[in-house]
């Protein structure tokens, strides 16, 4: 009986993960992909559950709002060009500039928060997708590794090839329909860093889970 337990434990090691851990890659807290991250946990995590990878959208996907914020930063320097603002008193002009920068800072922090907290987590038991939509709505999707049927990724466009990010689609046995009524992927991790590596790790975990299942049946 003890041999069976040992065999099950041995299969839980993934060689790619160990290699990445040794190299110290994917350790940045603000990175798009973290391998075996420290200080990472989620609400429904079990005691014996270990976070294998944690990821979010690639940083380059933030370029749009960062460019917008940079552009907005310089607009108050040209207040004088706007005839409507020209007629304001110095005091009100100052207040308007303060309000502008306060609003801009809010925009930047909010976008950063949404990027930072929209994560997916892969543990040795489950896949968890945490989505925050705006400041007031969130959704958490969880599935067991053993229920995953298929996992695939796609990279489209020059930017995604250049920065190595893409969409990872995880399909499970459960029925999930899109807004147009067609069956879609249950878990859609959009613009994640190193999608090939993510798919490889999830596939390995699926194989491990399958082997463990067979051992427990024996």
């Amino acid at each position: 009986m003890a041999e069976i337990f040992n065999a099950a434990k041995q299969t839980e090691e993934i060689p790619e993960l160990e290699e990445l851990e040794k190299k110290g890659q994917y350790r940045s807290a603000l990175g798009g992909l973290l391998v075996s991250p420290d200080k990472t946990s989620f609400e429904s995590q079990e005691n014996d559950e270990k976070v294998v990878i944690m990821g979010r959208k690639h940083f380059v996907t933030n370029v749009g709002w960062i460019a917008m914020a940079c552009f907005a930063f310089f607009i108050p320097l040209f207040w004088g060009e706007f005839p409507f603002i020209k007629v304001l008193t110095t005091n009100v002009n100052f207040e308007l500039t303060l309000a502008w920068y306060a609003g801009l800072l809010f925009y930047v922090i909010q976008n950063f928060l949404l990027w930072f907290y929209n994560v997916y987590i892969v543990t040795n038991e489950r896949v968890v997708d945490i989505d925050f939509l705006g400041l007031l709505n969130n959704s958490v999707n969880v599935t067991q590794i053993e229920k995953i049927e298929d996992v695939s990724y796609s990279q489209r466009g020059m930017l995604s090839s250049f920065f190595n990010y893409g969409n990872v689609e995880v399909e499970t046995a459960s029925e999930q329909k899109n807004e147009d009524g067609r069956r879609g992927p249950d878990f859609d991790f959009l613009s994640v860093s190193s999608p090939a590596l993510v798919v490889k790790i999830i596939s390995e975990l699926m194989e491990i889970e399958e082997r463990e299942h067979e051992i427990s049946r024996v």
Binding site: A29, K39, L96, A102, L105, F106, L113, N138
Partner: protein, 78 residues
């Protein structure tokens, strides 16, 4: 229109600056409320998923709220 006439009759002047000034004050107050919502939401997000440097992010939103409190006080009292 009658109300406006009454104000003018009392010697008050409505200028573009005064209207914009009031709108800016309201906007600062709304931003203050949004900052408070953001602080609350960040602590809820941190509860759902604990991430590395999550504590610093919470501190960042709290700092923004304090800054907004300070700026709103300046703008409203000015």
């Amino acid at each position: 229109m009658n109300n406006l006439d009454a104000i003018v009759a009392q010697g008050s002047q409505i200028t573009v600056s005064s209207i914009v000034g009031i709108m800016v004050k309201i906007m600062m107050f709304l931003l203050l409320v949004l900052a408070l919502v953001m602080v609350r939401q960040t602590s809820l997000m941190d509860k759902v998923v604990k991430l590395p440097v999550g504590g610093n992010v919470k501190l960042l939103t709290l700092s923004y709220f304090v800054l907004m409190l300070f700026l709103t006080a300046i703008v409203v009292l000015a």
